[in-house]
Symmetry: C2
Subunit: 142 residues, 2 copies
Amino acid sequence: MHETNISEATLSELSGKLRAAGLRTTKQRLALADLLFSGGNRHITAEILHAEARANGLAVSQATIYNTLNQFHEAGLLREVIVEQGRSYFDTNLSDHHHFYIESESRLIDIDNQDIAISDLPQTPAGFEPAGVDVIIRLRHK
Amino acid sequence: MHETNISEATLSELSGKLRAAGLRTTKQRLALADLLFSGGNRHITAEILHAEARANGLAVSQATIYNTLNQFHEAGLLREVIVEQGRSYFDTNLSDHHHFYIESESRLIDIDNQDIAISDLPQTPAGFEPAGVDVIIRLRHK
DNA sequence: AGGTAATTTAGAATTATTCTAAATAAATTA
DNA sequence: TAATTTATTTAGAATAATTCTAAATTACCT
């Protein structure tokens, strides 16, 4: 495998990322990781990733798309964002941040953590601890 | 229809609520509205509502459960809460508030608006306006 | 009561996702 | 390197929540 549009450096970085997550470096995972992590941050669904993979000449099954997204998520390489009924988004931005969601375009936009302030957090019910805070600001056309 | 466990007063209130929303008062809608609105506030799924309806002796189809939840939501009688992949919750509490979500128990808990403060809201992208803000604090057992 | 439009329904269809079990590929061992 | 083990990929079936369809029923208006 030696695509001209992927640098060897990037590939070996990605391979290391997979290893660190306890995942073997396979052709499919490497190519999907490249799509996910080699550009800027992305919000992606299984359907979109599958389409992109095929558009880039990667023969990959739907099952592998789902397996890979779930494995990357479990490994902490992706954050799951739940904003609409039925479909999951995965976010490559792992920093502490939130989202605008434009329903009419099925589009997510990051809100940097320093651009929003949640103070005065309520007391967590006894016996539980916070596992994450999601702020979603739903937008509509003006 | 004259169940002993439902007051006439409540029924006529509910009927008015339906009328106001432009919905005819049918046996099914009235009984479902009673389940939804006559006790305290609730977070309910289609499956749970269907089970409760049957448990209360109401013969109602799955399709009607979904139709009703969606119509009540469109009419502003219910708020939809999206916190897990696949399933929708509907909240009878229409006040401005947020949620704890206990994933291990599929349970939502209201957070009163005055118990949380989101200041310093980021600027809304040009051409859009906020249609709603959802804060979800995901909880796990300590 | 009679007519019209809304509502309900069973069952099929759809959509996103997960499962299954067989084939393939990666890692490990000899 | 060849053999063996184990993980991965895959097609296709299965599942789960939801929506659709078209026919039967019911509410509402006159």
